[in-house]
């Protein structure tokens, strides 16, 4: 007889998401998510703030990947105004965005290993994330919510000693992630826990609308940075990681290899960065019109739809968040699975409720 369990907020491992599970013995028959715990009304607030004042607010839409979200919004504003950032600013934006992506992937790996009760990997990933946060503090002034990318360019230039320190940290990190590979991905118990769990085939992934590393782990070769390039990504050389299996192990593996690719991008950007100005003037009002831009954040594809009305505040802003689309994949997969698979599937999709609820 199925019993309804609230795998809810007051639970050590659920984050902010409530899932109502119908459990029969040890098997979960289906789930019903209950979102809305962290809803702050960010889309309505945008109608009452100028476009420069909104940059710190959109960064709080996702705490752990803040520069990528700010980049999406700033690109929409610049596309509407017809302004283009200078070359040096584009490279600096790429550096901040890729550092933010490494931060997000390390945190996702920490949370996924926590579901198996494997606190060792959580603390190791968090330790090495501290080094990246120190680099971001040196560049932008804050550790998590950077407020570095603004319409027109970036706010500050590279500080003295940043290049040497960044190369030290990135070389160390490149060697260190193979320790993670040996401890986590070649660990028999972790493989038993995640291989074959939550398999999403290529057709199902495209139909449900999942994005990001979860889509690439199911065999679909699509990455916004390569197929619709923005900023300086068309001048930089990197690989897009595509795997075939589509289970939780592969999703974690795709994020792991993307850390190595991000390190490669940052090293090239630091070497090739041109001289020049870092910020241009922007007009004070938004013209009438509408624009839709997309960027690739650590969790997937973020779409921003902006409507301007001739004043200095937007008329309407719509954020199409990546975790909201991946939630459909979660609900589809959590049917007739054992109870121990629920946290593993949830954290392998890297759903953070902050950008489901905005």
């Amino acid at each position: 007889m199925p019993v309804r369990v609230a795998w809810g907020i007051q639970h050590p491992m659920s984050g902010h998401l409530t899932l109502y599970l119908d459990v029969d013995g040890d098997v979960v028959l289906n789930t019903e998510p209950d979102v809305g715990y962290t809803h702050r009304g960010l889309e309505k607030i945008a109608e009452y703030r100028t476009y420069l004042q909104y940059v710190p607010i959109i960064e709080r839409a996702c705490d752990f990947d803040s520069s990528n979200f700010a980049l999406g919004y700033v690109r929409a504003v610049e596309a509407l105004m017809g302004v283009e950032a200078p070359e040096r600013a584009k490279y600096l934006r790429v550096i901040a965005a890729e550092l933010s992506r490494i931060m997000s992937h390390l945190y996702a790996q920490a949370l996924l290993s926590m579901t198996g009760g494997f606190e060792t990997m959580t603390v190791w990933s968090a330790n090495d994330r501290e080094l990246i946060l120190d680099l971001l503090e040196m560049l932008t002034g804050a550790r998590v919510t950077h407020t570095y990318i603004v319409p027109g360019g970036v706010r500050w230039d590279l500080p003295k000693g940043f290049k040497e320190r960044a190369f030290e940290v990135l070389n160390y990190l490149e060697r260190r992630i193979w320790d993670y590979y040996k401890m986590l991905f070649q660990n028999r118990t972790f493989q038993d826990r995640t291989m074959g769990v939550g398999v999403l085939s290529k057709k199902e992934a495209v139909e449900l609308g999942v994005t990001g590393p979860s889509l690439r782990a199911s065999g679909v070769d699509f990455d916004v940075r390569r197929d619709d390039p923005y900023e300086a990504y068309d001048k930089l050389d990197f690989d897009v990681i595509v795997e075939k299996d589509g289970d939780s192990y592969t999703r974690a593996l795709v994020r792991f290899y993307e850390i190595a690719q991000s390190i490669r991008i940052i090293k090239q950007a630091l070497k090739d960065i041109p001289e020049g100005p870092i910020r241009v003037k922007v007009p004070p009002t938004l013209p009438k019109g509408e624009v839709y831009t997309r960027v690739e954040t650590g969790r997937g594809e973020l779409g921003i739809y902006l409507v301007g009305a001739g004043t200095n505040k937007p008329y309407r802003l719509k954020i199409s968040a990546p975790s909201f689309r991946n939630l459909a994949g979660l609900v589809y997969l959590c049917r007739d699975v054992p109870m121990g698979d629920i946290p593993v599937i949830y954290y392998s999709f890297d759903i953070l409720l902050l950008d489901v609820d905005r």
Partner: protein, 143 residues
């Protein structure tokens, strides 16, 4: 079989490396030069124009009367430490310090009047640690 033994070997290896802990609050990490902490007001340069209050995203700055002139008052319950007020001040009267320990027991203490905002930052009296060598065999530690 080796996939059972290899993690055990890695675990015993890490038991003999240096620890990564910072023994806060006895030791403290040094913030970077650009770190955006509490804002310090230079009362001689401020002209009371109000641009900082206009550009703040959270309406944390209000202008109040103080000794006959208008000065900004900062509410740290609302401040998000973005630094737009520092960037946009026409007379460069605002500056970020490195203080971040601003917690207090009631909300009224968080509102910094102009004279309190003009206080210089307190120097760090505790031991400052940094990350040690990254490429040593014992691993990086804080020391």
């Amino acid at each position: 079989m080796s996939s059972y033994i290899k993690p055990l070997y890695m675990a015993w290896l890490h038991a003999f490396k240096r620890t990564f802990t910072v023994k806060y609050p006895y030791e403290v990490l040094k913030p970077a030069d650009r770190y955006r902490g509490r804002i310090e007001l230079n009362m001689d340069r401020c002209i009371g124009c109000g641009v900082c209050s206009y550009v703040c995203p959270n309406k944390a700055i209000t202008l109040v009367e103080h000794e006959g002139r208008k000065y900004p008052q900062f509410d740290y319950g609302r401040c998000c430490f973005c630094g737009f007020c520092v960037d946009h001040c026409p007379r460069a009267a605002l500056k970020h310090t490195h203080e971040y320990e601003l917690a207090s027991y009631n909300k009224e203490d968080l509102v910094f009047s102009p004279s309190k905002a003009a206080e210089p930052p307190k120097p760090f009296e505790r031991r400052v640690v940094t990350v040690r060598k990254l490429d040593s065999k014992l691993g990086p530690g804080h020391g």
